[in-house]
Symmetry: C2
Subunit: 118 residues, 2 copies
DNA sequence: TTAGTTTATCGCAAATGTACGATAAACTTT
DNA sequence: AAAGTTTATCGTACATTTGCGATAAACTAA
């Protein structure tokens, strides 16, 4: 048969994962996340200096990441310091891990013998 | 200081990762990926039957996933069988793993002592 | 108070994304 | 050949995203 399929609506986790993914769906935002992951924190100005986009545009990208819950900002007048969101980053980590078949690092997708089509 | 920052342009990997993430940025597409990950393959009709969206809409979502390289489709007249993309799924797996600080499963984001701001 | 620094927000234009119904395309069965 | 099944594509409407310059907001230093 083939009737053991998807539920009709999205689960909270599916929505959360899609929301994280959506926020990550732009190269600049990936760049920002990588930066924060590598060096803990940074100020908006640091990004403005090194990314060839208007300051307002970068601020908008930061807002997207913040609204998605991936980063958090702390006001340190006159600057704002951003870091990965302590609470949600591990959640995102988990959700993506689960989607990708969790761990076993070298796992290949469930075989679909024949494949290579279309 | 603080001048050891981001490069001016995006690397190929950053663009690739953003592209994967963007394709994953919708709950229906997450649902489809989970399904394919869980049961290897499925036909468009299976999705059409179980997701409350028009057939044309689902077809479009499949196209987004296919264009991003996350899934592949094989024509088996009169149906089309979809599976995770054998080549790229592991790539996506790796890129996301790397972004999330690779492995150590329980790692928390690099401390940003003080935090909780804004 | 005034001027300076840093970041967020507003208003706008152009491009993309989302969903639908209608229709075409490909192939099977009668 | 005609009718049926399954999936993709087209055209359309509406919403969201992306990027910019201009401006406001918050706070410090003169």
């Amino acid at each position: 048969m083939s009737r053991t399929l998807a539920k009709v609506a999205y689960s909270a986790e599916e929505k959360q994962l899609a929301s994280f993914a959506k926020a990550m769906g732009h190269p600049v935002r990936i760049q920002i996340l990588k930066l924060l992951n590598a060096q803990a924190c940074c100020y908006t100005g640091d990004l403005t200096d090194n990314i060839p986009l208007a300051q307002s545009t970068i601020s908008q990208h930061l807002k997207v990441l913040k609204d998605a819950g991936l980063i958090q900002g702390e006001i340190m007048p006159p600057k704002v310091k951003y870091c990965l969101n302590q609470d949600n980053w591990p959640v995102a980590q988990r959700l993506f891990s689960e989607l990708f078949g969790l761990a076993s690092a070298g796992d290949s997708p469930k075989a679909c013998r024949d494949s290579e089509g279309l």
